[in-house]
């Protein structure tokens, strides 16, 4: 995957077909992160923030729904992929790129969370054990695309 062209509000990436397939497949997993996982505060009185916590959960669910709709729009009928024999170009607007970044990160963080939030060492141990590689591969695939998208916006 590489960035072919970039303007203020448009990014064009070149992907090979395997990359395209991986991206489309991994995005189907969204959303993974359970909004209930997020907490508003460690120290504030629970009663005082109960309404805020409820709003936070609703807000996160609504946000995931909006992102899901945008992903469906991006990869729906008017597909963003333009192909030749070996590659396909992925054209994304700035807002779409931002959405994909959030979505990929949700899948990574949610998958990590579903593994019981392993620390750095535990993650390495899981890689060596190779007992359940699917979540690790999902996280790696998301990371791969996240890096490319972040690189495209100059980070």
């Amino acid at each position: 995957m590489k960035l072919l062209n970039k303007t203020d509000d448009k990014f064009v990436f070149e992907l090979d077909f395997k990359e395209k397939e991986l991206l489309v497949e991994v995005l189907k997993l969204y959303p993974v992160l359970d909004p209930a996982y997020q907490k508003l505060s460690d120290s504030l009185d629970e009663e005082e923030i109960s309404l805020s916590c409820k709003i936070l959960k609703e807000d996160l669910l609504e946000h995931q729904e909006k992102n899901r709709q945008m992903v469906d729009e991006i990869f729906g009928e008017g597909s963003p992929f333009k192909r030749d024999a070996l590659h396909c170009n992925l054209e994304l607007g700035a807002e779409q790129l931002e959405c994909l970044l959030q979505v990929l990160n949700d899948i990574r963080v949610g998958t990590w969370r579903n593994l019981d939030s392993p620390g750095y060492d535990e993650l390495e141990k899981l890689r060596l054990e190779k007992s359940d590689v699917v979540p690790l591969v999902v996280m790696d695939v998301c990371e791969y695309f996240e890096y490319h998208f972040l690189d495209a916006i100059g980070l």
Binding site: L40, D42, L56, D59, N105, V109, S117, E146
Partner: protein, 98 residues
């Protein structure tokens, strides 16, 4: 109850409301082994409108110290920022300043 005095509960509510308007709430971002450093920097830039250098400074604080106090705000604004950061999948909370 003496006339002219507010019930205790009402006084509590009033002082709480006043407290909430004051910038005594810290927005804190916590370290985790999953969010990419460049992603965290990007999120700080988007949510707070910070320049890259400031966003990166706070990201490194999170990474090296386990947390970074990002801003000190009223209750509602702190709540707003925590919601925004969590939408991006970061581990953020708001805490009352001691």
């Amino acid at each position: 109850m003496k006339s002219g005095t507010l019930p205790v509960k009402e006084i509590d509510e009033k002082s709480k409301s006043k407290e909430r308007l004051e910038p005594g709430y810290l927005v804190i971002c916590w370290d985790d082994p999953i969010n990419l450093m460049s992603y965290v920097t990007h999120v700080f830039q988007v949510v707070f409108g910070w320049a890259h250098q400031k966003a990166e400074y706070h990201m490194l604080q999170v990474h090296n110290n386990g947390k970074s106090v990002l801003t000190r705000e009223s209750f509602e604004r702190a709540e707003h920022y925590v919601h925004q950061l969590q939408k991006y999948g970061l581990q953020a909370t708001m805490e009352k300043e001691d």
